[in-house]
Amino acid sequence: MQTTFLGKTLHTPLVLASGVLGNNKAILERVWENGCGLPTMKSIGPAPREGHKNPTVIDLGNGMINAVGLPSPGYLNMEDEWQELSGRAFPVNASIYGGSVDEFVRVAGFVAAQGPDFIELNISCPNSDKHGMLFGVNAQSSHDVVAAVKKVIDVPLIAKLTPAAPDIAGIAKACEDAGADAICAINTAGPGMIIDIESRCPVLAFKTGGLSGPMIKPIAVRCVYDIFRSVSIPIIGLGGISTGKDAIEIIMAGATLVGIGTAVRYRGINVFDKVNKEINDWLTAHDTTMEEIRGAAHREVL
């Protein structure tokens, strides 16, 4: 099910969510071979960062809570990875983060020169006090960071948004106005907290964490639905997508590509092949196409 996205051909419309497995070339390639059209790298930061202490990721059965905390070697310490990726046969989406507009610009400028196919600005991570979500909950700062980065790169730019924004459609519009080529929604929801009642202690070492997986799918669908009404650039829809029917649902809300993260846990790395097949089967059974169903939920029902 070949798809064109911002001028690039992808072998499927499925995207690997940032922060899920994407820690080296071999695993990005493996995910691609298993039906993922666009693997996203783990978010790259301005300096070496270890992330939070464990526990950092807990499976709640119907989704997960995590506060991995943006670990990164730092953009200047990834020569080996870029070297290996330079000979790749597959497209790569490089996710980046920073603690200020300047840091975003510095990281984006450097990373863009290493040859990724897309750059995704993570302005939406809930797991750091200084990075990420601070930008994505405010239209003006979202605009500022996207506009500043857009000036220094010529790689297509994707803005990744948080459902914590009071008006995610307004943020998306601000990003589009600033020059974003696409929107990716959503990052994890919440943040939430789980407490172990025996030890009376929050389980995550960072105490709070972002929610992902099936339990957040309705939030993701609503966000993509709202964003679709406010922008004309394409949307990567993600958040709790595990099956072909989930993918169809978020495409009907307006997504062009569909991201998968947490479902790798529930259905394995070949979740991408499975979901592709399920999408195809559904489209065939309903005698329709991706183009025809995209945004279908917005059409007036008579």
Binding site: N23, A26, P73, V264
Partner: protein, 278 residues
């Protein structure tokens, strides 16, 4: 009940101190388990780390801790009545096959921890003949010295017990002795220990056409194949492994060469090992 979801707070029922370096904490709970699998052990306020299950009964299991870092020193200081959080078990575990006649089990240092329940599981069934080759730096680092009898070969780097030399020397000698006697080869070699030792075992097995399985160690966060902290080449150690067979090892880019630090940066194994020992 212990599951792969939220950590279950359980009481440490007993502690067995093996040496100044090693202690085993026992928990009186049933856990559905295969030798080679691991659990995530949480000490609230301290950290959470993966530990292989080193002792297993239907209603009790144990984990063996080597006191080397902040977490493990805290863990060995725990005693009966203290509570720890457990989630798991995770990972694939060893493939015990169904018709092995003769296997070798090669343990280096604390690599004995996942292998001991494997040996016991073989012994409990109508299992194969087992040659156990156990080595360590010196005598006091030999885990569970009295746990197994029978065909056991001991070696230490300093000669303080058994043969002075490496487990791999003994493995080669035994493989050659079998073929000199015209006997069939080992059906499988199981190994756990320092990665360089396992790589040597793998090379020896490849050279002699014997299949092997080794159990790898990488820094872990989730334990269930999502966060990517533990990737080794194309392999996700917590989910595809920690046990890998010859076929996977042949194409595993980072085996015996690199591992990721907590930042995600790939570094040579000796640099990784010195970070892990802090």
């Amino acid at each position: 009940m212990i599951t792969q979801l939220m950590p279950a707070m359980v009481e440490v029922a007993d502690k067995e101190v093996h040496s100044p370096e090693f202690a085993t904490l026992y928990v009186n709970q049933a856990i559905d388990f295969k030798p080679g699998q691991f659990v995530m052990v949480w000490i609230p306020g301290v950290d959470e780390k993966p530990y292989t299950i080193s002792h297993h009964n239907p209603d009790r299991f144990g984990i063996t801790v080597e006191a080397k870092g902040v977490f493990s020193k805290k863990a060995v200081s725990l005693g009966p009545g203290d509570k720890i959080g457990i989630r798991g078990p995770f990972g694939n575990g060893f493939n015990m096959g169904s018709d092995h006649k003769q296997v070798a089990v090669v343990a280096g240092g604390c690599g004995m921890a996942p292998l001991a329940p494997l040996v016991e599981a073989f012994q409990a069934g109508n299992g194969p003949d087992i040659l156990l080759i156990q080595g360590a730096r010196s005598k006091s680092f030999l885990l569970y010295p009295d746990r197994f009898t029978g065909n056991v070969e001991i070696c230490t780097d300093d000669g303080s017990k058994g043969y002075k030399g490496f487990v791999t020397d003994i493995l080669v000698k035994k493989i050659k002795a079998l073929s000199a006697a015209g006997s069939p080869d080992f059906d499988m070699v199981y190994a756990c220990g320092p990665e360089i030792m396992m790589a040597k075992v793998f090379d020896i097995c490849e050279a002699h056409g014997i299949p092997c399985q080794v159990s790898l160690e990488r820094y872990m966060r989730c334990g269930f194949g999502v966060c990517g902290a533990c990737v080794c080449g194309h392999a996700v150690v917590c989910m595809d492994g920690p046990v890998f067979g010859s076929k996977a090892l042949r194409t595993m880019a980072d085996f015996n060469t690199r591992a990721l630090l907590k930042t995600g940066k790939p570094v040579p194994l000796d640099e990784y090992a010195s970070w892990r020992c802090q």
